[in-house]
């Protein structure tokens, strides 16, 4: 099962790269992601009763990994469906050759495989290798349109993320240095490191964890190394933005969570909490400030991703079981909501030819399905009930107060309120306003999957079914 979920996208990727382009290649991608989602669900169930593993224990899934696999599968499936539409329209208008379409399909599968490897790797250095691989694979996806802006975004993306992630590797190596000179055996295995952590040298672990927060933080989109994020998310094709924002950020955050567990076991909570609080609050501040001044709706969504990552970081800083459960629920909720929004935004750009907020109006009248999805998606994103983000944001804020950080929860609530205001004004302009053209329907192949995703989000918010036991088990792992 563990090997199958990794091999499936790899195999699909190789076939897409080698086979001559036809529409079936894009559909193969959809099938592969559907398979990943099913396998993720099976692994999720298995991880609650045992610890499925492969390759002599170097790959394995605990509930935390299994939950991430589910997010990868769900967002990946939405993005693969969006990818079929993206490639159709690009090919139709001659904006890309069939060779480039094959490359796109292959790279998306490689991207998914790299993320799956990240969450399955038990060795934290292999986890790092997989995170860096996502950077390499996605660079061409960000630049797939080959415009000057897209290439600038890919350049910034690979340079800033490689530098950042290099810091995380230095941090990982320093952890290894500490482990080599601790009491037990030198190992990069996560579970061993957590077990041996109390014997590790404090000064070295402190330096290592600071570097890791800065490093993985770059890929999560935490300040100060976040500047690649709005560019890459706004320039990439919509399905790629959905994947990057919906899962890649949280996969990097997952890596941070794993390292946090080691640091907490070694140093106790104080140092770890302070580091994550500073990171989270600065990120939240930057994101909200930039979000309020956006004229481009894709960049607006990108800054909203930063805001959500800042919130996750605060939840990790609180570090209680409730906080971590809320964090994991938020990862799921943000992944689904943001991918629906980026895909819908992509359709709007396609329809209206601009990503400027001022260039779009009367969406609800002109394109009721698109406008409706965009409106409901935004409502979910800002944390209105019944969607699960309401429950998870509330959970993070309550956990912060319970951890004696009431001032942080006050700041977080203020930031969330600013975001509601900051998003609703441009949304109102785009959705309402005068309609210039006659109403047009969106194809079911688009609106049905998006609707299902939003429905799942509402279901998750109301009854927490079917993920609640997995989320609590995952939070216990990340403790």
């Amino acid at each position: 099962m563990i090997l199958a979920i990794l091999a499936l996208p790899l195999l699909a990727g190789v076939i897409s790269a080698l086979a001559p382009w036809r529409r079936g290649v894009a559909l193969l991608g959809v099938a592969s992601l559907a398979g990943v989602l099913v396998l993720a669900a099976l692994i999720g169930r298995a991880s609650l009763v045992g610890a499925p593993s492969a390759l002599g224990g170097s790959l394995g899934a605990d509930p935390l990994s299994a939950l991430m696999l589910l997010v990868i599968g769900a967002v990946g499936l939405l993005a693969a469906l969006g990818g079929v539409r993206y490639l159709d329209s690009q090919l139709e208008r001659g904006a890309c050759t069939s060779r480039q379409a094959s490359l796109y399909a292959a790279l998306v599968q490689g991207f998914i495989a790299a993320m799956i490897l990240t969450v399955l790797a038990r060795n934290i250095a292999v986890m790092w290798v997989a995170v860096e691989a996502t950077t390499v694979v996605t660079t061409f996806l960000v630049g797939h349109r080959r415009t000057r802006g897209a290439l600038e975004a890919s350049w910034k993306y690979i340079i800033i993320c490689s530098v950042g992630i290099a810091l995380a590797f230095l941090g990982t190596m320093l952890l290894y240095v500490a482990a080599s000179h601790g009491h037990g055996t030198a190992s990069l295995d996560w579970a061993t490191l957590v077990r041996e952590a109390p014997h590790l040298n404090h000064a070295v672990v402190r330096l290592a964890f600071s570097l890791i927060v800065l490093g993985y933080g770059t890929k999560v989109g935490l300040a100060p190394l976040h500047s690649w994020l709005p560019d890459a998310h706004s320039q990439a094709p919509a399905p790629v933005s959905a994947l990057m924002s919906g899962v890649l950020l949280s996969v990097a955050f997952y890596a941070l969570l794993r390292c946090r567990a080691i640091a907490v076991a070694a140093l106790g909570t104080d140092f770890v909490r302070t580091t994550l609080l500073i990171s989270g609050l600065v990120t939240l501040g930057v994101a909200v400030t930039m979000l309020l001044h956006q004229s481009d709706y894709k960049r607006m969504l990108a800054y909203s991703s930063m805001e959500h990552m800042g919130l996750l970081c605060l939840g990790a800083a609180a570090g209680t079981p409730l906080a971590l459960a809320a964090v994991l629920l938020h990862v799921v909720g943000h992944g689904l909501a943001k991918s629906v929004l980026f895909l819908t935004a992509g359709e709007i750009v396609e329809a209206d030819g601009t990503s400027q907020i001022a260039g779009v109006s009367g969406l609800l009248v002109r394109r009721p399905a698109l406008g409706g999805l965009f409106a409901v998606g935004l409502a979910a994103l800002v944390g209105l009930p019944p969607f699960s983000l309401f429950a998870s944001e509330l959970g993070v804020v309550r956990a912060l107060s319970a951890a004696g950080l009431a001032w942080v929860s006050a700041l977080a609530l203020a930031a969330l309120a600013f975001v509601v205001v900051g998003l609703s004004a441009p949304a109102a302009r785009m959705l309402l306003g005068p309609a210039t053209t006659a109403p047009q329907r969106a194809p079911f192949s688009f609106s049905v999957p998006m609707g299902v995703a939003l429905g799942a989000l509402a279901l998750l918010g109301v009854v927490a079914w079917p993920l609640s036991s997995l989320i609590h088990a995952g939070a216990a792992v990340a403790l």
């Binding site: 170097s58 060795n123 250095a125 292999v126 790092w128 290798v129 860096e132 691989a133 950077t135 390499v136 660079t139 061409f140 630049g143 080959r146 000057r148 802006g149 290439l151 600038e152 975004a153 890919s154 350049w155 910034k156 690979i158 340079i159 490689s162 530098v163 290099a166 590797f169 230095l170 190596m173 320093l174 290894y176 240095v177 500490a178 080599s180 000179h181 030198a186 990069l188 040298n201 000064a203 070295v204 330096l207 709005p230 560019d231 706004s234 320039q235 930039m290 001044h293 956006q294 960049r299």
Partner: protein
């Protein structure tokens, strides 16, 4: 024997360190790429010397791999980009050369201060050289901040990577082979991607200098 092991190791680390400073000193991009190749040789030598001393054949093998990738393949890939660049010089770095060298000196001191704990923990002839590894990482960082040419940025990135590899060689008894292979593959692929990107920017948009890439901002 032990004396010559220590002095050989010192020599190899000094080579890596000096070449890192050289990339800041020389404004010609071709010279920077050459310095990077020599840096790769120095890094490979560190791995081979340590491997021979510890009778660790895997580490010697890693040294050979480092030589092939970092001293030959990577400089060759970047060299192809430089060859297509008509004025391959770092004409106007944000900070002039003497000031950058002073900056590198300050960063080296900073690295020594930051890694006191690590050096005390490791307490071997190799471990005492760890500050140089961190200093090289910081110098790579610094050169990425002050240099504006695309190629200079790639050289800076690889300098950072070499500094980390040096730290890992000196501080541990060998990184697992699978990790070493994965990291090397990542670096190689990243350089290929960067090379393709730069070539595309040069050919289709006539962009050589990152200051020309200012379309995206808030």
């Amino acid at each position: 024997m032990s004396f010559s092991y220590v002095s050989l190791l010192d020599l190899a680390v000094v080579v890596v360190m000096v070449t890192a400073a050289l990339t800041l000193w020389r404004q010609s991009l071709a010279a920077a790429v050459k310095a990077l190749a020599v840096q790769g040789v120095g890094l490979a030598a560190v791995a081979v010397i340590l491997g021979a001393h510890r009778h660790d054949l895997v580490l010697v093998g890693v040294g050979v791999l480092v030589l092939a990738i970092k001293a030959v393949a990577v400089p060759w890939l970047i060299g192809r980009v430089v060859a297509h660049d008509h004025a391959a010089r770092e004409a106007s770095p944000l900070i002039n050369v003497p000031a950058s060298l002073v900056g590198a000196g300050v960063l080296t001191l900073l690295a020594f201060a930051a890694t006191r704990g690590v050096v005390a923990l490791v307490a071997t002839p190799a471990g005492r050289l760890i500050p140089f590894g961190v200093a090289i990482v910081l110098i790579g960082f610094f050169s990425m901040v002050v240099r504006r040419r695309a190629v200079s940025q790639i050289v800076g990135l690889l300098t950072i990577d070499n500094g980390i590899a040096l730290t890992a060689f000196l501080g541990t008894s060998g990184v697992p082979l699978v990790v070493e292979l994965g990291v090397t593959l990542d670096v190689l692929l990243a350089v290929v991607v960067l090379q393709v990107l730069v070539a595309h920017l040069q050919r289709h948009f006539n962009v050589h200098d990152l200051d020309q890439l200012r379309d995206l901002h808030d």
